[in-house]
Symmetry: C2
């Protein structure tokens, strides 16, 4: 079984969270996930390769932004609710901007 490490949000620094959000591709990912649902990697509509996309998901996961739930051969990605509690208002504010 595949294993994905999700960090304790208390150990995620603000600078790390901001840095994780500070990339156009990762912002696009977060926007897609912001509907609250679970999404596969293949649903992301960005013009980067699959491996690059996977790398960005890893960055977001290590920053505590996204949660990955493997199911069979697929991976369902969603925003971590704890992120909002750790950094209240941050994601809402960022997603409201462009």
């Amino acid at each position: 079984m595949r294993h994905f490490d999700h960090p304790d949000l208390d150990e995620v620094a603000l600078a790390r969270a901001l840095s994780a959000l500070g990339d156009p591709v990762r912002l696009a990912i977060v926007r897609t996930l912001s509907d609250g649902g679970e999404h596969q990697v293949s649903e992301m509509q960005v013009e980067v390769s699959q491996s690059t996309l996977s790398h960005h998901f890893t960055t977001l996961r290590k920053a505590g932004v996204v949660f990955i739930r493997p199911e069979g051969t697929r991976c369902w990605h969603s925003l971590r609710p704890e992120f909002e509690q750790r950094f209240p208002g941050l994601l809402v504010t960022v997603l409201g901007l462009e």
Copy 2:
């Protein structure tokens, strides 16, 4: 006379702004400037060299976060009010977190 280029805020992407804020040293700088006043580089209390500090100020300036007003031999740094208009609530939210 020294010349400092301050970008048009409309040309600053959200990802760039977040990336600029996504560094511990630069967050400390922004916190110091958040009193609304003008500050010199020497007032910053971070354990990096002066040239590194200057580099971080350049990064913040190019991201539209800070304004530099040279006066004689000194340089007065302050937050750009336009930043709040370009990214409403972002700075307030970030500064309210830790």
